[in-house]
Amino acid sequence: MTCSLGVKLNQIEFKNPVIAASGTFGFGQEYNGIYDVGILGGICTKGLTFEPQGGNTGIRLWETPMGILNSIGMENPGIEAFIRKELPQMKKWNTRIIVNLGGATEEEYLKSVESLNNSNPDMIELNISCPNVRKGCMAFGMNEKGAAEIVRKVKDASRHPVIVKLTPNAENIVRVAVACEEAGADGVSLINTVKAMAVDINEKKAVFENVYAGLSGPAIKPIALRMVHEVYKAVSIPVIGIGGIMNWKDALEFIMAGAHFIQVGTANFVNPEIGKEIVLGMQTYMEKEGIRSLEEIRGII
């Protein structure tokens, strides 16, 4: 029996639903030295902004049981440098390249979209959910009004499909997802990190200079799963499930909860080959269970 892991998003075919999550995979180069990243369905770039960003000062990473908190603060080389130096290299790999796009203002998002129109990524993942920058980004994703406005403008301006990465910190993530769909989004990815904090009792202060940071890893998986399930039931565009996926079994949980795709983030730090292992593990499961296509199990719960 032949089984296929293939999935489509707005006419774009992905050979499988496994995508490396933004911020955990750089621009793919480092991982491509460990395994052929062409086995992945796609790669989301490190979050990009129009201007280069130096990122946050102070501690940027903190471990907590079954999770990590990060406060990187969107350090990136800027969209133009990315298009010039990183994208041509990434396009050589046999996988879909999704540009994760952040911004402090609407104007900044739109300038980046214009640059990307003259370039050839496969898709944009509109980041309105990063909790680690002082201005913009997550502020756009907190409610349906803010999200709909920026999504509509980006969709109107972009020649590439646009998926929107949502924050679990939103007032109501289901309503934000519905608003994104109505504004023309081609898909929604969720969840970005959960706003969280850590305290250093010896220093008697917050661990992070920004006080709050983003929690990811297995600790948030059950919450992510519930949100994916709720959003899946409310929208008809594809849902990309993210949050604490550590192995192929976790990935299948998200598919069964309704996800078309899944993104693997923190797990890349635990095992840099995990992306490949998830693709192979899902394949084996389907063969064993006699499942020909992921459609058979998607959203069965």
Binding site: E30, K46, I59, R60, L61, E63, G217, M246, F269, P272
Partner: protein
């Protein structure tokens, strides 16, 4: 997975781990060591202490949960490690000073061993400073360098005359490394420092360990951990 040959306490909260197998690595590079399958989630970056014919050794201090769990591992246990990562110390000849403070001595063993063996005209002087007691035995350090000096409870940089060396390599507390970099600048000598940082991936993808240098943001795990001192310290 690799087999642990030994994991013994060598001083206070300092342990020497030995793992069996053929390993590669330059002095100053590190391995990402996993102590558990998932919790703690992150691997621990630990620098190479020594590479032997059939094994690799790591000298580490217990600082948190990961290293505490690592110290509980016994001979015969399995451990997962990936590497080597990072750039390592440069090769050099001539009169070389190697200066370590506390657990900063860890990457300097292999560094001394490699540099000291490179040719007849190269002389490697090793200076180590400890706060409570020497790590390992005096003769274990003596045999890998031209001359060995150590001090307990004092300030090791007071004993290093940077002016008489061609190059200095150091690892330890910031205050110690910075002092050497300042001396190096005064006498026009290159001082290489090894920077410590919290790391997520260890391979240059997550930007957790970014360090601000005169040449812009650098990744400690990939561009470092060894940098030219004047590039990382604001003098």
């Amino acid at each position: 997975m690799a087999l642990i040959k030994g994991n013994k306490k060598v001083a206070g909260d300092i342990y020497l781990l030995e793992v069996e197998g053929r390993f590669e690595g330059k002095p100053g590079q590190f391995y990402m060591i996993r102590v558990a399958e998932v919790d703690p989630l992150l691997s621990r970056p630990i620098s190479i202490f020594e590479i032997t014919e059939n094994g690799i050794k790591f000298l580490y201090r217990i600082v948190g949960e990961g290293t505490r769990l690592l110290s509980k591992k016994r001979q015969g246990d399995q451990i997962s490690l990936r590497g080597p990562y990072g750039n390592g110390y440069p090769s050099a000849t001539g009169k070389i000073a190697i200066v370590g403070g506390g657990i900063g001595a860890a990457p300097l063993y292999e560094t001394c061993k490699k540099l000291n063996n490179c040719n007849d005209t190269t002389a490697v002087d090793l200076y180590l400073g400890f706060s409570d007691e020497i790590i390992l035995k005096e003769n274990e350090w003596e045999r890998i360098c031209s001359s060995f000096f150590y001090d307990v409870g004092g300030i090791i940089t007071e004993y290093v005359d940077v002016a008489k060396y061609d190059i200095v390599m150091t690892c330890g507390p910031d205050v110690m490394m910075k002092k050497l970099v300042m001396e190096g600048k005064k006498y026009g000598k290159q001082v290489y420092v090894s920077i410590e940082s919290r790391m997520g991936c260890g391979i240059g993808a997550c930007l957790s360990c970014t360090c601000i240098t005169t040449k812009g943001n650098k990744k400690v795990c990939k561009d470092g951990p060894v940098f030219l001192g004047e590039e990382v310290y604001d003098l």
